[in-house]
Symmetry: C2
Subunit: 321 residues, 2 copies
C-alpha cells in the first residue's frame, strides 16, 4: 500500500512545543507536546525535540511518508531560517533552526512566526481557503498577525512583516515591554483587555465581581464569563477592546484591501462579545469604498492542534506548491 | 531605421490631464497638457483627449511605436478598468475608461490611481529601481500611496488597496469630507499642514507672519518659506506634520516591512523640514527589529512630467513584463 504523504508541523511556544503529522486534507494525524525548555540551553530543547520526532514517526513509518518540515516560532525569520532575538527564549541571539533541523532530519524545512503559520493554515485548510488577500489576527497573550497578498504570505524586505500587534493606536498610550507606547497589543489581547478592566475599575463606580480579583489573578476567560452574566465593567471592556480593534483593522484595510480578516486564538473565543463591537467600529472607520465589503470572521479550525496544523500547512505550501 | 518603442502615459488630475510618450529608459519624450473638463460631460473630455493623442503621435509616427497605454486617475480601479465614484469628476458613477480607450486607440490599456502609478514609476525609473518591497507616499493637496510587495503593486481584493491617506491617526481627530475623523490626510498633506498652522496660531502666542494670512489664502509653499526664515509657528507645523507622518509610517512598516518609503509630490519639496521630524518620530515608533533598517527618502524623479512617467511606467510594467 502506498504511504500517505504528510508534513511534520512543529509549533514552538513560550511554554510548550507541539509537533505532529499533517496530511494534505488538513488533518493532524498524530501529535505530541513537550516542554519548550525556554530557560535552558538550546541543546536541551533539541535533544527532546528530535527524540519526540522519532517517537512520533518510527511506529508509523510504514504508513506515512514525511515530505517536509514546517516550524512556527516566536521571532522567526522566514528568509534566514533563524529565530532572532526572541525575548522569551534563552537560546542565544540567533538560532539557525532550519539549518539544524535539516541536518538532523534530512528533510526540507521552513520556519516562520506562529501567526504567519496560522495564516497559511487558514489558507490551505480553514476559512481562507480559496482567498488570495486576507489577514489573520491571533489573539492570545499578545496579538500576532499574518498577511496574505495575491495568495502569498507577506514577509517584507527582512522577513518580519505582519507585526500588527505593534502598530500605534493611541499616541502616548499604554506602555509595552518593547518600549513603544499605545500599541495595539496593549489594548487588544488577553493582557490588553485585563488592563482595560483595571482602567475601567478606576473610572467607573458600578459594582463588579471583577473588583474582587487582583491584576495577577485575572484571566481573559473570567472577563468573558462576567460579561456574559451582565457585568457592566466586563461588558464595557469588550466594547472598548472591539472599538480599538475595529479602528486598527480599518487601518489595515486602507493598506491592503483584503477580502476577509480572520480572528484566531483565545480571546477570539469570546465570539460576539468581541466581534459585535469590532465590526461596528470597523465599518464606521472604513473609507466608503471599503464599506460592507470586508468580512471579519472567526477561524473555524478547531481543537488543540491548530498551531501544529499551521506549521504543517507552511511545509505543504512551500514544498508542494 | 527601427522605431523606438514607447508607451503612452496619461495622468488625469482634478484640473489638468497630462499625456506623453515614455521610452523604456524612463524619458518622457513628448508631452502635452489639456484641461480635464471635470465639470462637463465625459464626451467633452474624451474628444479633447483623443484629439491630443493624435496631435502628439502623428507627427512622430515614423520614429516611435506605441506599445500600450497606461492611465493614472482618481478612484481608478485596476481590476475593473473603471473610474469609480470619483468625487471630483462629474462624468458619472462608473467610467469604463479602459474599454473606451482600447476601442478608440486599439492598444492594450491599463488604469490605476495616480499614487499607484507613481509607485511603478519609482520602481522602473526612480529610487526604487531594483527594490521588491517599498511604499510611495504622494503628498499633494491630499495624501496618496502605492504599495509594492514582492515586486508587484498591491491592489487587494477589490482593486483599491493603498489608501494610506485614510488611516486613522488621531482617534476622534480632524474632520474629513469622507466623514472619517482624524485620518492621516487631515494632518499630512498641503491642506493638513495648513490646518496645523491654524491650530498652532490658536494655541501659541508667538508673533508670526502667518497671522496675516487667511485660511483660504495660505498655501503650503508659504509655510515652508516661513519655516526656512525661522518662523516658530511654521517650524512647529512641520515638526508636528513629521511627527504624525513618522508614527503612521512606522505602522505601515509593522504591516509590510518595506525596504524603503519614498516621499513624492509638492509637500515633499520642503525636504529636510519635513524629512527630519518624520525620520525622528518614525524610528522612535518602530518595533526594535525594524529600527535603522528602513530608508525614508525623497523621490528623485524630476520635472513636470513625473505623473505621466508613472502612467507610462504602468503600461511598461503590465505589457512588457
Amino acid at each position: 500500500m502506498a504511504k500517505t504523504a504528510v508534513t511534520l508541523g512543529i509549533d514552538i511556544g513560550g511554554t510548550n512545543t507541539k509537533l505532529g503529522l499533517v496530511n494534505n486534507a488538513g488533518r493532524c494525524v498524530i501529535s505530541k507536546s513537550i516542554p519548550t525548555y525556554a530557560e535552558e540551553n538550546l541543546d536541551t530543547f533539541l535533544d527532546h525535540l528530535f527524540k519526540t520526532v522519532e517517537e512520533i514517526t518510527e511506529p508509523v513509518a510504514e504508513h506515512f511518508e514525511i515530505k517536509a518540515v514546517g516550524i512556527g516560532a516566536p521571532n522567526a525569520n522566514f528568509y534566514s531560517g533563524c529565530i532572532e532575538e526572541a525575548p522569551n527564549l534563552k537560546w542565544g541571539k540567533l538560532v539557525p533552526l532550519v539549518e539544524i533541523v535539516e541536518e538532523k532530519i534530512k528533510l526540507p524545512t521552513v520556519l516562520t512566526n506562529d501567526a504567519n503559520a496560522a495564516a497559511i493554515g487558514e489558507m490551505l485548510f480553514g476559512v481562507a481557503k480559496g482567498m488570495k488577500n486576507f489577514i489573520v489576527i491571533t489573539l492570545g497573550t499578545g496579538l500576532g498577525s499574518g498577511i496574505v497578498v495575491n495568495g502569498e504570505l507577506v514577509y517584507g524586505h527582512d522577513g518580519f512583516a505582519g507585526e500588527l500587534g505593534h502598530v500605534t493606536v493611541i499616541p502616548e498610550g499604554r506602555d509595552h515591554t518593547t518600549g513603544l507606547k499605545g500599541s495595539l497589543e496593549t489594548y487588544v489581547s488577553a493582557t490588553g483587555i485585563k488592563r482595560t478592566v483595571f482602567e475601567l475599575l478606576s473610572l467607573r463606580i458600578h459594582p463588579s465581581r471583577l473588583r474582587e480579583v487582583s491584576f495577577n489573578n485575572l484571566v481573559a476567560k473570567d472577563i468573558a464569563t462576567a460579561a456574559q452574566e451582565g457585568d457592566l465593567i466586563a461588558t464595557e471592556a469588550f466594547e472598548y477592546t472591539g472599538k480599538i480593534l475595529g479602528v486598527a483593522l480599518a487601518n489595515s484595510v486602507a493598506h491592503l484591501s483584503p477580502e476577509a480578516i480572520i480572528l484566531f486564538g483565545g480571546l477570539a473565543n469570546a465570539g460576539d462579545l468581541l466581534l459585535d463591537p469590532t465590526k461596528k467600529h470597523f465599518e464606521k472607520n472604513l473609507l466608503h469604498i471599503f464599506r460592507n465589503k470586508v468580512k471579519i470572521t472567526l477561524s473555524d479550525l478547531k481543537g488543540d492542534n491548530t498551531a501544529v496544523l499551521g506549521a504543517g500547512a507552511l511545509a505543504w505550501k512551500n514544498f508542494e506548491g
